[in-house]
């Protein structure tokens, strides 16, 4: 399957720190690619570099065959990439509705699509006119997801969506991601929870010290406990 997103030898410096050391990663079109690795491995930096929030100091990033590493963040977003940051970054002074109005860049929100989103995240309908700052952590994550889904995007970059969330909400997020993928979107997802990664990942990249040290299918990684131990310092059994 062709790659929608390709990172070749991507380097990133933040101030005087050299964070990414030649990241090589391919994200196949229409699939969910999990980016795994220990804390500080460079996963979040990789997503932020793709979005242009931190500039790549070397290498190249191609999206749909076109280089995007020199583009501004708004241009990258307009190329069809949605971003759900680790911090969720909902606009707390704006209502749920206003957050989504802003995310609907092309114009007005589509009611059918909105109903589809409400199906996964009913609290957003309930708190439609409430300020986002008053939502719980899980509801903010739902809003952050909804913001990236309110218009179709070719690629979604999602950073640790399940961190600190209740199992029921994680279930809703997983269902949502599966449906989004079924509708044809490509997803690159950073995740620490290996159970979640196993549930939705098709392919996987494992990072360590600013490099991708393993790339392959999720099925391979799930089947090989020794590889899990070596790459992630865990086995699936201990993370049931």
């Amino acid at each position: 399957m062709s790659e929608l997103l390709t990172l070749s030898g991507v380097e990133t410096h933040i101030g005087r720190y050299h964070i990414l050391h030649g990241v090589e990663l391919g994200v196949p079109e229409g699939q969910t690619t999990m980016l795994l690795g220990r804390n500080g491995a460079g996963k979040t930096t990789t997503l932020r570099t793709i979005m242009g929030l931190w500039r790549a100091s070397g290498g190249e990033i191609r999206f749909g065959g076109e280089r995007i590493d020199a583009l501004s963040t708004p241009a990258i977003a307009r190329a069809g990439i949605g971003y759900v940051p680790e911090t969720m970054a909902v606009f707390s002074d704006l209502t749920v509705k206003e957050n989504l109005v802003l995310a609907a860049r092309e114009g007005e929100m589509d009611q059918t699509r909105l109903d589809w989103i409400f199906g996964f995240f009913p609290p957003l309908r309930k708190f439609w006119l409430s300020r986002a700052g008053t939502l719980s952590g899980g509801q903010k994550q739902m809003l952050s997801f909804a913001r990236s889904l309110i218009e179709p995007r070719r690629l979604l970059l999602i950073d640790e969506p399940t961190k600190g969330l209740a199992p029921a909400i994680i279930g809703a997020l997983i269902d949502c991601l599966k449906e989004v993928k079924r509708r044809g979107a490509t997803i690159l997802l950073v995740e620490q929870n290996f159970r979640v990664a196993q549930a939705i990942g098709d392919t996987v990249g494992v990072m360590d010290n600013g490099r991708v040290v393993h790339a392959g299918t999720m099925a391979e990684l799930v089947a090989d406990e020794a590889m899990q131990q070596r790459l992630l310092g865990l086995s699936l059994d201990t993370h049931q």
Binding site: T73, A77, Y83, D93, N99, E108, D110, F127, W128
Partner: protein
């Protein structure tokens, strides 16, 4: 199908819970005015002081409203904001002095024919200078607060000295147009016509800003950008264009405030920007950085307190604004309506 039009587009519609609003700060100016009433010897004096305070507050608000947006959205400490106040006033003199005959005519229309172009010219020049200031002076120091303070303070000193160089060190008299002179008499209370105009203009600016911020997508972008510029960009919006637009609008409003203040004092001098800047910063801090409503209430509080104190305890009037700021920050350390997390 659209889901953007009204608040009730979703199935649950109007029955959905809204966030409770924090109305307490809105009551503060009213509480302050009522608290002063027993100490003022007569009701007519209290009315005069209150209207004078409201007019002064509206002028300060017009000057400060741009600064709070600039700080909130762009995280820029613009100590050069005072320069736009003074430049606005001087630009108005360029139009009003040649049209002095129209200003002194008994016709309201001739007065307006002089004042309106003067205000528009002042706002256009300060807006354009704001654009140049943002591109040349501010842009290289985004995210560097210490450098921002130094360079914008330097920019204000340069602007002030240039005003001295071009217009001379003397104060320039700027008399009010004839139709705005004098007072309305309500019983024993005399209310100056110009102060009523200031209240109306300030209210119009406030309502227009609220309408733009709450009812338009540009307003949503500004409010979102005040909170998280990075995420606004990640949604696909070019925040730098918004920065430029807000800076220009903020500078133009400072210019408008400068014209209002100059007509209120009936004279212009190059130091007026620096003198007003302290007051403007106090108002922005009291209101909560980035909040237009907070800025509005803060301006009214500062002006009312200064007027009452000036009448009741004149020596206290020198420090009223500082004391007020301390009191508000002890109650709400991030100001009345903080918007940014900074």
């Amino acid at each position: 199908m659209s889901a953007q039009g009204t608040d009730g587009d979703t199935d649950a519609g109007a029955a959905l819970p809204k966030t409770p609003r924090d109305y307490l700060p809105l009551l503060l100016p009213v509480a302050l005015a009522l608290a002063a009433l027993p100490f003022v010897p007569s009701t007519s004096t209290w009315v005069t002081l209150t209207i004078a305070g409201l007019a002064m507050g509206m002028m300060i608000f017009v000057m400060a409203s741009g600064l709070t947006l600039i700080f909130g959205l762009m995280d820029v400490l613009n100590f050069g904001h005072g320069a736009f106040i003074a430049i606005g006033a001087y630009m108005a003199t360029l139009v009003l002095i040649p049209l002095a005959a129209w200003m002194q005519a008994d016709s309201v229309w001739l007065n307006l024919a002089a004042v309106v172009p003067a205000v528009l010219f002042a706002m256009a020049v300060t807006g354009a200078l704001g654009l140049a200031f943002e591109r040349i002076v501010i842009m290289p120091v985004y995210g560097q607060h210490l450098k921002q303070i130094l360079i914008t303070m330097g920019g204000m000193i340069v602007a002030e000295q240039m005003l001295y160089a071009f217009f001379g060190p003397q104060q320039i008299p700027l008399p009010l147009p004839t139709s705005l002179r004098g007072s309305f008499q309500f019983g024993e209370a005399a209310i100056e016509k110009y102060r009523v105009v200031c209240v109306l203009v300030g209210l119009a600016v406030f309502l227009a800003m609220l309408a733009i911020l709450n009812r338009s997508k540009i307003g949503l972008l500004i409010r979102a950008g005040v909170e998280n510029t990075e995420m606004v960009e990640a949604l696909g919006y070019r925040i730098t264009r918004l920065f430029v637009g807000v800076f220009m609008a903020g500078s133009a409003l400072a210019g408008l405030g400068g014209v209002m203040w100059a007509l209120y004092r009936e004279q212009v001098n190059a130091a007026m920007g620096g003198e007003l800047l302290v007051l403007v910063f106090i108002v922005v801090i009291i209101g909560g950085l980035g909040s237009v409503t907070g800025c509005f209430i803060g301006a009214l509080l500062v002006a009312l307190a200064t007027n009452y104190a000036g009448f009741l305890v004149p020596k206290l009037a020198l420090v009223t604004d500082i004391l007020l700021m301390v009191a508000v920050l002890l109650w709400r350390p991030r100001g009345l309506y903080p918007v940014t997390s900074r």
